[in-house]
Every structure is written in C-alpha cells, then in structure tokens.
Symmetry: C2
Subunit: 346 residues, 2 copies
C-alpha cells in the first residue's frame, strides 16, 4: 500500500459497483460523545417460549412451528413482497413511473437453539444452512415470476433485527434489485472486455499482495475489499468462478461453511461481543440466462467502528453526498487478521 | 394515486437519481420487537459548560469560542477532508484505483442557545443560518481546488450527531460526490432533451395533483417526493429554477427560512419529540460551469417510522439489494399535512 494513502484523505474506486468511497485515515482519533449502542443480552436461554422462531411455538398468524432439529424455513408472515400482486405498470411521463412488483419473502431459522449464532454453531450445522440456501435459490429462482433471489441476514438489534433467534431471510423478486444490477453491469463489461472474471482477477492480485487477505481455505478467500465502506466490511469469495451458489460441489459447500464460521468467530472476538452485521449473497439472477460474467460472493456489512457500543453512522454526508470511512481497509484487515479463530466465549 | 399502488407492493422511479425504491404498503402492520431508540433529553440548559460548541467554551484543540450572538462558523477540528492533502493518483489497473482528495470541513453553530433547534428558533435567526450558508458556498466554492460544497445537518443522536447543540456541517471537496453527481447527470439529460428544468416540471405537476404537497409559500413548496425512501422524507423546492442558493433574492431567503421552520415544526409535532434527520442542500457544483440544468433543493432524510423510538432500518435487503419503504409517500404526506404548524411545546 502506497504510504500517501495510509495517511491522507483519498477516494478509492469500487470496480464491482462502479462507485467511489471517501477514506479519511487521519480521522480515527476523533472523540465520540454521540450515541452508544446497547449490547444485546448474551445470556439467552436455549429455548424461549415467547420467541416466534423457536420450535413448537405459535406464530402471530396462528401457525405452529414444528419441533425442527436443524434448519426451518417458512414464508415470512409480514413479507414485503407477495406472490399474488397483480401486474400493473404506470408511466404518466418520465417523472411519474411505477410498476407493481411480484415476489415472496422467506424466513430461515439457522438452528432450533435460541441461544446460538453462526460463529457458535458447528460447521456441520452451518453446512445445513448452506444447503437450505441452495435449495431455496433453485426453488424460488425456478418460478417464472422470480428473476432475483436475495439471501441475507440482519444480525443484532443495531441492524434492525427484530428477534435474536439465529435466522436469515430471503426476498425474491421479479425485478433485479439495484445493487446486484450494478454488479452485473460491471462484471459483464469486464467479462466482455477481458474474457475473464472480474473477481477472479481481483482475487489473484489480492492473494499476491496479501495486505487485505484474512485467511483462505481450499476453495474460498476471506478479505477486506480494497473499496470497503463499512469499518470492518469483508467478503468471502470462491476461488473458482461460479455464477451461483448452486454451482458449488459438496467440498465447496463444506469449505464455505468453514470460512463463514472462521470469519464470524473473528468478528465476535474483535470487540468480544456478538458482532452485528447485515450479510448475504450476491449472485446471478434467475432470469434464465447463463450469466457467465457472474462470480458469486458473500458480503458482510458490519456497523461497529470502535467498540461493542460505538458504530459508524452512515448519515449526513454519506446519505447526501458519498460513503466515507475513517480507517483504511488495510488497517481493518490487519486487525481482523491478528484475531484468534477460537471464539472468546470458549 | 392509482389505488393498485395504494395497496400492492410496487417500485417507483426516482428521475433525479435514476434509481428505484420498493414500496410495500401492506407491511405497515408488522409487529416490532426490535431496537427501541433512546429519546434525547429535551431539558437542555441554554448554556452548557461541557459543550464544545457553546459560546466562550474551549474546544479540544485549545481554541476558545467567541461569545457569539447568532451564527458561529469554524473549521472542523476533526475534518474528514483537509486543505493540505498532496495530490496523488494511483491506478494499477482497472481494479485498483485511488486518488487523494483535497477539501475542507466547516462547522456552523446555528445559535448560541444550547437548548434550541431549528423548529424552535425565530425565522429571523434561521435567516442568518441561510445567509451563512450562502457566504460559505461562495467562499469555499470560490477556492480553485473546491468543486462541490455539501451543506448538511445531522440532527439527533440516532443520526450520529455527537452534540445536541444546534449545528450543521459543510464538507467541501475537489470531487463532485456520488449523490449530487447522479442528480446532475439526470437534470442535464432532462434539460438537454426538454429545455426545461426537471424539478420545475415536477413541481408544476405536484402542485396540480396536491397529493404529496405539504404546504407552499410565495417562493417554496414543501412536499414528500413521489420517490421518497425514508418514511417521512421531504424536499423543499424553490418555485423558480435557481442553480444555487446564492441565486436567492432577499425575499427568497426569508421565504426559505419560513418553509424550513414550518416543516421542522411539523416534524417535531409528528411524534411530539425533537425529530431526528439528516438534511441538506443539493445544488450546482462550484467547478466554474454555469450549470443551467441545476435546480437546487433541500432534502430531509428522517429515520423515524412509527414513534419517537422506532425507526426504519435501512439494513439487510436495503443494503444488499434495494431501498424499501413500508408506507406510501401519499400516506406520509397526508399525515404531515394534517399536523399543526405551532410547536407542540408552546
Ligand atoms: O462529523 P461528526 O458530527 O463528528 O460525525 C457525524 O457526521 C459525519 C458526516 O455525516 C459522519 O461521517 C459520522 O459518521 C457522524 O458520526
Ligand atoms: O423483516 P424484518 O426482520 O422484520 O425487518 C428488518 O429487515 C428488513 C430487510 O432488511 C428491513 O426492511 C427492516 O427495516 C428491518 O427491520
């Protein structure tokens, strides 16, 4: 890393979304008198009778959860997207345009245990989550009105998660949403120009530089991307170009579960707290095209900046002008790389 | 408003930024067991000896604030952008690109009174803030290395504001940041195609429809834009096309202060709390061009959704895929329109 950028305000380019991030490395020493987050109670019982995700409990709509043993999936009772939305499109002129959006929402309980989170689960149990994602991607994506399947997890109250029971969500839609669309456009452009995968080329270079790589296993690399926006933003990228998670071999699925656990254990160890984030998969749309340009990857957007209770606020300047961060990606990578892969609670 | 869109999930187009928002009107009834925000103590003293923004107090860097009577402006002691950043650009290939960024940060105290906020200030006092913005825009924008001047305010701890003393910020940069750049591209395209201002045409239509207009005065209209993302997002738009705030006449500056106060009073009345938001100006860059395409406007991005303590989280799906909202712009406008313009504390 050029030392000019270690010290001075600069912007960095994100070739995956064709955007820039402002980096202000000198600003890390800024005092903080602002909001302090509550730390989620870490003393949850293995079963909570008031939790609508625990096995055998009754949900809002009267449905009873089965006594599930690993993963449990159901339609979101309050989905933002619905299957029976009537098609309708409206375009008064170029200023007033709207279209109805068909889709559906699913909830995936990662474990029957109310008190666990991914970093505390066994790799074999995490592998079952991966298998469930693949199934859902294929089933939902196979519907003719679904063209994109967004798999994600909001972890922690600070990330708008309304229930600490370990779970993720899937929102599947007719339209390809904004973020994956940006990545598709950039990857396609790169693919057409270079006949190679943007992320494979990027990964190759990161593996030589090693400044931002956290660790790798046989099939995956975990790193802080050069263009990271969130303080400890990371990606898990498959070494082999695959358009979608359903292209993984069994060995790759195991290796992903391994990387997922190791990374989230490091996250928990960073501030010795259950580390909040939004995370999920970016992969090829399910619109029936081959999408050779796509190289799927898993992104983590964690908000914490300095401690278990002080987060980075993406507010004023960031909302009105441009994303901004206070530490360099290289510093964040060095911090995460130095952490143990044994969970601090053990 | 077509009733299909009042009830069914749909996406709406934002012609100013060329993007879409997902609207899920049926979702407002969703239960909330998630994070509850702290309400900022509303019983602040007029002067706080521990506040680094109050008159006569000493700041971190040893500087003493003058005994200012209205507005007070100084260089941000922890600015993200600095004047003396050396120029440097790096482009290893299309995947690794960075450039140093010169700029500067300013802090504007809106009032010497620690206990006030904009909706509680007199219009004549707010007018002085507007004058200060115009001065700063001209002075900072006049520097050869500054091409964009972002004026904004983070209000409330939930918006990352680190001090409740009424104040705003200015970050001025060599680059034109992402959001204003999007708006510039869209306005320029519209201007070249139609020889008219995008926002003037939009405003004309909103004034006929009246569904999303909150109020107007002689020179400004306050409305919830058709493409609003945040639950109670609004804009104040000048009726006359002006590229920049420095184009305002005296009468227009007064009228802006009037609209700014009336809108923020409604906001405070909504949940009878000091209403948090990030807000600011989008206007022409200071790159020496005429920018006839620009029609400046003031945007408010407030996070609260249901009450003083429950906000909308722009997390998982919104970060990874697409912005999403749970109530329609028309419903939000109806709620804000029905509110009194007398502050609830009076
Ligand atoms: O400059 P402040 O008020 O310390 O900081 C606040 O506003 C900045 C500009 O929107 C953000 O980058 C920070 O995350 C936020 O905490
Ligand atoms: O669906 P949930 O968990 O109730 O809701 C959470 O995740 C959604 C998808 O990221 C967001 O739109 C909500 O703001 C957030 O509270």
């Amino acid at each position: 890393m050029n030392s000019i950028f270690e010290e001075h305000p600069h912007k960095r380019y994100n070739p995956l979304t064709d955007s820039w991030v402002l980096v202000s490395p000198h600003r890390a020493k800024r005092p903080w008198q602002g909001q302090v987050e509550k730390v989620a109670g870490d003393d949850r019982p293995a079963y909570d009778e008031t939790c609508y995700l625990c096995p055998t409990n009754t949900r809002m709509n009267g449905e009873v959860n089965p006594d599930y043993q690993d993963v449990y999936i159901f339609n979101n009772d309050f989905a933002a997207l619905l299957e029976d939305t009537p098609p309708h499109s409206f375009e008064e002129d170029e200023l007033f345009r709207a279209e109805t959006e068909r889709g559906l929402g699913r909830v995936i309980c990662f474990s029957p245990r109310h008190d666990l989170t991914v970093p505390e689960m066994e790799e074999t149990a995490i592998r079952k989550v991966v298998d469930a994602w693949v199934d859902e991607y294929l089933t939902l994506g196979g519907k003719d009105f679904i063209n994109y399947v967004q798999i994600f997890e909001n972890k922690g109250f600070v990330m708008g998660c309304s229930n600490p029971h370990p779970h993720g969500q899937i929102w599947a839609s007719s339209s390809i949403p904004d973020e994956p669309m940006k990545k598709q456009i950039a990857q396609l452009k790169y693919w057409q120009k270079n006949q190679r995968s943007l992320l494979a080329d990027y990964l190759g270079k990161e593996l030589i530089k090693q400044e931002r790589v956290l660790f790798e296993n046989e099939h995956f690399v975990a790193l802080v991307p050069y263009w990271a926006v969130w303080p400890f933003e990371t990606m898990i990228v498959p070494k082999r170009k695959m358009a979608r998670i359903s292209d993984m071999t069994d060995a790759e699925k195991d290796a992903f579960a391994n990387a997922y656990k190791r990374l989230t254990v490091r996250y928990d160890n960073l501030f010795e707290t259950s580390f909040p984030y939004s995370a999920g998969v970016h992969q090829a749309p399910t619109d029936g095209e081959a999408h050779d340009e796509w190289h799927w990857h898993f992104v983590f957007y964690p908000p914490l900046l300095r401690s278990a209770t002080v987060k980075k606020f993406m507010v004023g300047y960031e909302m009105l002008a441009n994303p901004q961060r206070d530490i360099t990606a290289e510093k964040s990578a060095a911090v995460l790389r130095a952490l143990s892969e044994t969970h601090y609670k053990l």
